[in-house]
């Protein structure tokens, strides 16, 4: 039981790191970024490819840097020119980017599933209430906690965080106060994609890489973002935790309907509270 709850935490933690990047980008650009799943996948592949030369941790660093750069490019080349257009337009462009990205990965690394070895430092298990539990999974939980704390501190208590929150609801007014919202959004979108990359790399020793891995994580992270209350960081955190538990305990206790549980949870939350867990920020 304890282990199953831990597993739920791992799952929720992974989901949170993917989703929070989505939230950041949604917050700042009001764009439901369909390419996000693709970024997660790309991050995993880059981490894998660079890992062949620099080892797992080196690969992680390379992936974070490249993904952040890619995010900056995405913001500069796509979101900024499209900022005055209808949001749906941008959503579609991100969908187009997803298609291109999947195809590129397919072209470079092939369609075969690739598995990534555990970093040696965390290979192995610890004993938790009599059962072995992979140390690496504990690391995933720790990373998620660090991301939560870091982001919360940054957003709630720093001036930049205030700017991000303000800019995410009204960029023009924020800009009028002397904030260079464009540079801000370069940074934030870069951070968001880097987080997508981070989650991809972190996930890679757990789950095999394939070009399709992005699409499957996309829907679940959308669910997290929506249940959390669009654009809400703390909401996404709670939503990811809840979904993680619901997902895992569902598999254990309600195996026949487990795949529907997150969907049903979303339906119930949205019907009771159309704006999601948190008041929408």
């Amino acid at each position: 039981m304890l282990i199953q709850i831990l597993n739920g935490l791992v799952y929720g933690g992974m989901l949170y790191i993917v989703s929070v990047g989505l939230v950041l980008i949604f917050g700042l650009r009001r764009v439901v970024n369909f390419a996000h799943g693709g970024l997660y996948m790309l991050g995993a592949y880059i981490g894998f490819a660079a890992g062949l030369y620099f080892g797992f941790w080196g690969g992680l660093v390379v992936a974070l840097v490249l993904m952040a750069l890619l995010g900056v490019l995405l913001d500069y080349g796509v979101f900024r020119p499209l900022q005055d257009k209808d949001h749906m337009t941008t959503v579609l462009v991100t969908f187009g980017i997803l298609l291109v990205m999947e195809d590129m990965v397919h072209m470079i690394w092939g369609a075969d599933t690739i598995s990534v070895a555990m970093p040696a430092l965390f290979d192995g298990t610890v004993d938790i209430s009599g059962s072995p539990f992979p140390i690496y999974r504990l690391l995933v939980i720790a990373v998620a906690i660090v991301v939560v704390l870091g982001l919360t501190l940054w957003l709630r208590h720093s001036r930049a965080g205030l700017y991000v929150r303000a800019s995410s609801v009204d960029a023009l007014t924020t800009g009028m106060q002397g904030v260079d919202t464009e540079r801000l959004s370069l940074a934030v979108v870069g951070l968001g994609t880097a987080l997508a990359g981070l989650s991809g790399v972190i996930a890679s020793p757990l789950m095999a890489l394939s070009p399709a891995m992005g699409s499957s994580v996309l829907i679940e992270s959308f669910i997290v973002v929506v249940i959390g209350g669009l654009g809400s960081f703390s909401g996404a955190f709670f939503a990811a935790l809840v979904i993680g538990q619901v997902h895992n305990l569902g598999i254990v206790y309600l195996p026949n309907v487990s795949s529907m549980l997150p969907l049903l949870l979303m339906v119930v939350v949205l019907i009771l509270k159309p704006s999601g867990f948190a008041r929408s920020h």
């Binding site: 597993n7 195809d103 072995p132 789950m207 895992n248 598999i251």
Partner: protein, 369 residues
């Protein structure tokens, strides 16, 4: 004029790797036969279209191929694709050689006079389990299946088989296609006290499960065996993790027959450093069937080819095999094996051969051709 073979297969999407195996095998077979001057002096020509393994797209692409004169078809990955195409074959005046889809219905209730199956169906895999299980000391088994018709059926037949052999199935889990985190299933199996796990997962799901089971230490504690699990792509993705896993093996490149040895050698030449994988070999068998039938019919007209295929006997890489006229299933044997080193390389190695007479259940009476 050339003989036209149309291949509508999953070149992209979740099953892209399988589609590419099909593609390699067809290209190999065609190149080989053309190098010999074709069939009865006619060269073979192919066209590939992408289906993403989606039934509706598959049907459209197949129709397109037929309209362009490619009336000899193959390439379906998912059973749904073949099931969607089979009923149209007569109207299109085409012939289909199935090499991957395993659903029993294709040679059962949904059988078609124009659909021929070269690979081993689900029921034959199920019939193979018992011969292996009876020799295993483990009494308590867990089932880890994919939540699809195939996975559920494999699970059910394992349960059936184990009852007869006084084995107990202590827990069953079925994960949806594309499941990335198997931790809850693995923990459930660990908590159940099972001594062995029967795995009916395929592709990426199988790999994710095996990798995570290893990380939880499950692979070291219990015996792992499965269907469609011991494949070359599993080995390729998992490396050492896969070592020692048991399973039903429809084909192994280590198969010790002269035909297969020649095939493997030729394959090695065209694709250096690789061995034909099971789906590649099955597709190659299908092509052998097709070429033999064209040769026999002296025609590439679908009607004539279909007639020739029914009851055809071929000297294939899996031995001398016959297409059963009752349901158009290729009657062939099956194997049990495990992943082990062979010639210094990890790959599925055959440990037991099950004769066609045992392995292939009788033709399904639901099939009315």
């Amino acid at each position: 004029d050339p003989i036209k073979i149309g291949v509508a297969t999953a070149l992209t999407g979740a099953y892209g790797d399988l589609g590419n195996e099909v593609r390699r095998a067809v290209e190999f077979a065609v190149e080989e036969v053309n190098a010999k001057g074709g069939i009865d002096g006619r060269l073979v020509e192919t066209q590939f279209l992408d289906t993403q393994a989606k039934a509706d797209i598959s049907r459209q692409q197949a129709e397109k191929l037929v309209n362009d004169g490619y009336t000899l078809l193959t390439g379906a990955i998912a059973s749904g694709e073949a099931l969607a195409i089979a009923p149209m074959l007569e109207r299109w005046d085409a012939v289909y050689i199935g090499t991957i889809p395993k659903a029993d219905a294709l040679t059962g209730a949904e059988c078609s006079p124009r659909y021929f199956r070269a690979n081993v169906p689900d029921s034959a895999d199920a019939a193979t389990v018992g011969t292996w299980l009876k020799d295993q000391p483990e009494k308590k088994w867990a089932i880890m299946g994919s939540d699809t018709a195939w996975g559920r059926n494999s699970g059910a037949s394992f349960v059936g088989t184990s009852k007869g052999l006084e084995r107990e199935v202590v827990t069953e889990g079925y994960a949806g296609l594309g499941t990335s985190d198997f931790a809850p299933y693995i923990q459930k199996i660990a908590d159940s006290g099972a001594e062995g796990v029967w795995v009916a997962l395929a592709g990426r799901d199988a790999i994710n499960f095996a990798q995570q089971a290893k990380q939880f230490g499950l692979l070291d504690k219990v015996k792992v065996a499965g269907v469609s699990f011991v494949t070359d792509s599993t080995v390729k993705s998992l490396g050492d993790v896969s070592k020692g896993i048991f399973g039903i093996v429809n084909y192994s490149s280590t198969l010790d027959t002269p035909e297969n040895k020649a095939f493997v050698a030729a394959w090695n030449k065209k694709y250096p450093g690789t061995w034909p994988a099971n789906f590649e070999a099955d597709t190659y068998v299908g092509m052998q069937m097709l070429f033999a039938a064209i040769d026999k019919a002296d025609s590439a007209e679908p009607e004539a080819v279909a007639e020739a295929l029914s009851g055809l006997t071929v000297d294939s890489i899996v031995g001398e095999v016959t297409v059963r006229p009752e349901d158009h299933q290729l009657v062939r044997g099956n194997f049990f094996g495990r992943i082990a080193e062979h010639d210094g390389v990890l790959r599925p190695v055959i440990s037991a051969t099950i004769d066609a007479a045992v392995a292939m259940p009788a033709a399904n009476r639901d099939c009315q051709l």
